[in-house]
Structures are given as C-alpha cells and as structure tokens.
C-alpha cells in the first residue's frame, strides 16, 4: 500500500456529543467535539484525568457510539463501517489489557492471528521495540514491569501494521527513562507513515507532538502546534521564588495588578495583567521573566473557560 499523502485527513470528528447516565442524572462526557487530524501526524490529546480523553478514544475506535455527531477515521464511517475500520486501526487501552497468563511471545502470536497476520510478517515494524523485551519472551505478561508491559502492549497494537494508532495514556505509571524511550519509538513509527493519536495527562509530553488538542471537562479548548499554542499566551509571565513560598503566594494573590499566581515546581508562576508592570515584592524574592509553556497556557485557557 502506498504511503498516505500527508495532506490526507486521517481523522475527522464533527460535532460529537456523548453523555453517560449516572444514577438518574445525565452527565456529559464530551460536548461538541470537532477535530481534524492530518494523516502522518503525531497528535497529542492533552488533559487531566476525567476530561473525556478515554471516551473520545473509545468513540474513535468504534467501541462506543456517540449520542450525536459524525466521525470519519481513515476514510471510514466509524458507526456504519466499523467492521472494516477494525482491520486497520491499532488500539492500546489505558489499562493493561493483554493476557497476563500468556507469555510475551504467546500474546504477540495471538494478537497477530487475531488480525490474520503473523509475528514474522510485520517483525520489521516492531523490531526496535521487540528486541528490548525479547530476553523475557517466555515470561508471563503479568510478571513484567510497567515499562515492559507498555512496550509489549504497543507491540501487540502494532503487530498488524495499522494505519492509525490510538494510544490511551501509554506513559501513565511508567518511569521517566521508559517514557523518554517510548516517545522516541513513537517518533520512529511516525516515520513509517503511521498516524498516531496519543493521550496524556503530562503537559511536558505535549511539546513532543506535532499537534496538540487541549481537552477539559469534555470540551476541546484549543488545537494547534505546541509552538503556536504557547504564542497565544500574550500576558507577561515570571517565575518568582522566595523564602516563604506560601506567604508569597497569598500576598501576591491580593495584588490587583496580578492576573494569577500558581505554584509550579520550585517556583511560583506569576502572570501579570499588563506589560512592564511589576507587583511590589517583599525583600529577598527573586523574579525572572520566563517563556510560557503549554501548562501555563492550559491553566490560562481553563480559567478563561470558567
């Protein structure tokens, strides 16, 4: 099959709504979602827990039906053409969903056969990944570490060479080194022409994507490239640090020239309403102008939304 043209649209979501009935109340999970993802991109869906990421993934992979709206994935209507769609997509759920009582190799063989292929047939695609877990290939999947489990799950999702890969929070609960490796693998898969949709609660992973969508309480706040996105943050932002951080936070919250202030690692991030205006700072407090990052923007968008 020829590689998809980069101008092709891999995923198109129009006006999708989904709500769950909890008790007798209807709770919206997704509200008016519109999304267009170009083929061949590494697309990140960034949002906190419970923001609707998994619901959106399940709808895109034909596991759930939306209440309304239209979804096209790889040129197929997700609702009516789910049978064909299921041959082409790879899905890795947020929860480890392989067979814990089967070994690595048995899991791979099983999922390969599920898609009518064999482990050997698509070995070249998963080779880089597989060699890392190969020493443990006769170990049961339930006995693997978190990072290895994720690698195996990704192998299984890739074994049939999908055109679109859906990864729901693949790096949650995985150590920093494995996370870094995981993203490097995603970059190399992208080069193979696979469109990747990945969700994550970690803001720092946003910069590793070609494009990101910020999602909060079932609504998409913004879609853009990470670089363009931070440019939308126009307020001046500073990192402040003092001896008594808690007191500093309370003091500055009262200042009328301050838009908002929030803890960020070792520092507080201070957002001012206007340029060239600085608040009155207590003695011994250091202040530096910084570049906003995705998380700053996310907080900004979130509060604007409310």
């Amino acid at each position: 099959m020829a590689k998809l043209n980069s101008s092709d649209i891999a995923i198109k979501v129009t006006a999708v709504n989904k709500s769950y009935i909890v008790g007798k109340k209807k709770t919206p999970a997704l509200e008016n979602i519109n999304l267009t993802i170009q083929a061949g991109t590494l697309f990140g869906l960034i949002g906190p827990d419970g923001s609707g990421k998994t619901s959106l993934f399940r709808i895109l992979t034909s596991l759930l039906l939306p209440d309304s709206g239209e979804i096209w994935v790889d040129g197929l209507n997700v609702i009516t053409e789910y049978k064909n769609l299921r041959k082409r997509i790879g899905y890795m759920p947020g929860k480890f969903s392989l067979y814990t009582d089967l070994t690595i190799k048995e899991n791979l063989d099983f999922f390969a056969s599920l898609f009518g292929t064999t482990f050997e047939e698509n070995y070249d695609l998963i080779k880089d990944l597989y060699v890392q877990i190969e020493p443990f290939k006769d170990r049961r999947a339930g006995q693997l570490s978190g990072g290895m489990k994720q690698k195996l799950a990704l192998c299984c999702a890739l074994i049939h060479r999908p055109t679109i890969l859906f990864l729901d929070e693949p790096t949650t609960g995985v150590d920093a080194v494995s996370r870094k490796e995981f993203w490097e693998i995603l970059q190399s898969l992208k080069k193979e022409g696979i469109t990747i949709l990945v969700s994550t609660p970690y803001m720092d992973e946003a910069t590793l994507c070609d494009q990101v969508a910020l999602i909060q309480e079932g609504k998409i706040l913004d879609v853009d490239t990470p670089a363009q996105m931070v440019n939308k943050f126009t307020n001046p932002i500073y990192a402040v640090k003092g001896a008594n951080m808690l007191l500093l936070l309370r003091e500055l919250e009262k200042d009328p020239s301050v838009e908002r202030i929030y803890p960020f690692g070792e520092h507080h991030h201070l957002v001012m309403k206007e340029k060239d205006v600085l608040p009155v700072l207590p003695l011994g407090v250091t202040i530096n102008k910084i570049k906003p990052n995705i998380e700053d923007l996310f907080i900004h968008l979130m509060q604007h939304h409310e």
């Binding site: 034909s62 969903s97 067979y99 009582d101 048995e106 056969s113 599920l114 898609f115 999702a157």
Partner: protein, 389 residues
Amino acid sequence: MQKVWMRFFFIWLEKQKELNSMKQFYHFIVKEFYHIFRDRKTLFILLGMPMVQIIIFGFALTNEVKNTRIVIVNQSTSATAMKLVEKIESSAYFELYSQTKDPSIIDQLFKKGTVKVALIIPHDFAPALIAQNKGQLQIITDATDPNVATALTNYLSVIIQDFQKDLNPNNIIPYKMEVDTRMMYNPQLKGAYNFVPGVMAMVLLLVCTMMTALTVVKEKELGNMEILLTSPINPIKIILAKAVPYLLLSIINITTILLLSYFVLDVPINGSLVLLYAESALFIMVSLGLGLLISAGTDSQQSAMFISLIVMFLPTVMFSGFIFPIENMPLPLRIVSNIIPAKWFFIIVKSVMIKGVGIQLVWKETLILFMMMIFFFTMAIKKFKIRLA
C-alpha cells in the same frame, strides 16, 4: 488470458482469507487452552469435581438401607423369637445395636439419634402365634426423615414376612393370592441408578454453564475485550472458540463419571455408549450456549457466577427430577420443569443408560434439547455486544 489469470488470483485470494480465518479461530482456541491449563486450581476442581460428586452421592448421601442399627425389645423367651432376632441380625440391612426387655430405651436412643428403628416382640408372642395363629409384633421408627422411616419399615416387614414363610413352609390355605413383585431395570433398588444420570447433568451444567460464563466475563472485566472488539474477529468465533475447550473437558468428565459408576458403583450401561456420548455432547452444547448467553448479559464475574448458580443450578437440582420426583409436584411447577434442560437430559440418560433404549424412544427429548441449543446459541450471538456498553 488476463481475465483467466485474474480469476485464479481472486480464487487464490479467497482461499488465503479462509485459511487466515481458520488460523485465527485455531489460535483463539489454543489461547483458551492456555488459560485453562495455567489456572491449575480451577482445572483441578473441574476434573476432580465429578469424582467427588460420584463418591459423595454413592457412599454418603443415600436412602438405601444398609447395616442400619436396630434395637430389639425382646420380651419373649421363646425359640421362635430368638430365631426371628437371628434372622434380622444376619440380614445385610440391619445390625443389632442392642437387645433388651425394657421398651423405654427406644425413646432414649431415638432422641440421641443413634438408632432409627426398633422392633418389639411382646412376651406372649410365641403362645399367641401357636394358640391363636396370630403373633403380634411392633415396628417403631424415627420418622423425622419420612423417606428413611418408610424404607426401614418396608425392609423390616419383608424380613418378617420371609420369616413367616420359613415357619410353615408348606402351609395350606384354601385361597391364596401370591403377588410377585419385580423391580424392573433396578431390582436391588440401588440409588446409584438414579443419581448417576443426575450427577452427570449437574457436573456438565456446572462446568459448561458457569465456566463459559466466567471465561467471557473475565475478558470484559480485565479489559481484554476492549482489544478483541477493536480487532476484526467475528463475535461468533469468539463465542465458539470459548466453547470448544469446555466441550472437550466435559467429555473427559463424562468418561470419568461413567467409568466410576460402572466399576465402582456397579451401575450398568445397558444402552449404546455412542448414543450416550452423543446425547451428552448435545446437553453440553445446550449448557455452553446457556453459559455464553449469561456472559453476554453480565459484566462482572461475580454476577455471572451468581446467575449461573442461583438462577440455573438450583432450579436444575430441583426440577430435573433427580432429587424430587416431578410427578409429585403441583401442576405449575410441573410446567416450569419443562424449560429446565437438565430434566430432558436426565430422562434421556436414564432411558439409554439404565433401560437400554435406543434413539427411537428418546427422540422427542433429544429434539427438545436440540431446539434449546439452537435457541441459546442464537441468543448468545445476537446478544453479544459488538461495542462496550
């Protein structure tokens, strides 16, 4: 020319597809076997259960009278009374617990539960027998369990009647009716003839219905279903692949039950063994279908277990006719019993195994089971969710 090649190519392509889909099915079954064999404890229970049940029903839970303790209150000193005591003692059914003259002991022993039957021989037993041709005896039983009490009374009466015949071997009574009773198919009234078919139905139902229900629901609970559903595998294949290993396991169980009942409990297999296996396989399919149907409607292993046990297992025990005779039930319950697959299987196994009849006499029951199988499988496939929720 090109067209011919194209056609060949397409035929070849179709064949490849078929092969792939068979492979897919085969791998799925292999995977199911891995699950079963790696869960050693469950496998052990599955294969051990029929043996334990046969042994429990065969040796512990039985209404048969065998070596039952009896108290004889013998107030007579005659030789006839002594002979009667000897006769009772020497039978395989009773074991003399004690012999006294004091009838009050009966009440004590009954209350303690050590003895369930007593015989009183009054002091004038022998004189009355000779002088008036009429000797009186009294049988007293503990009727807290009516079935046991009736059985004991019957056994004891038979021995006494027998004894009476021994006393005057050539008595001549002008009008005499002799009743010759024959217990067909089970002359010794062995309980095993009834419970072996019952245990077969129970074990197959437990293994097939509960285990298949659990195995599908487990995939849902552990999230495996999420991946299975995003793959192109056909739900029918998932369902059938789940059923195959349990079909094989159940055939092993039937063999165990038949071997044990034939060699240990001396239950004959009078009918065709092939027919017996074929009918069992049919009942297994019914149970599997039921299990799969339960799994399609439940989301947790707990509720699957609950439904299999409470909704399926209990009615099966009650309405299959294996413990409580259906003929004695009120009409509404008799009607209900018709929807219990085990009832039909129980009838079939009893007919084929004990009475030795052929298919021509059980085809109706077979047909009912067949229809049930079609119904359950169709429903299970229809109800199988192609999406989550």
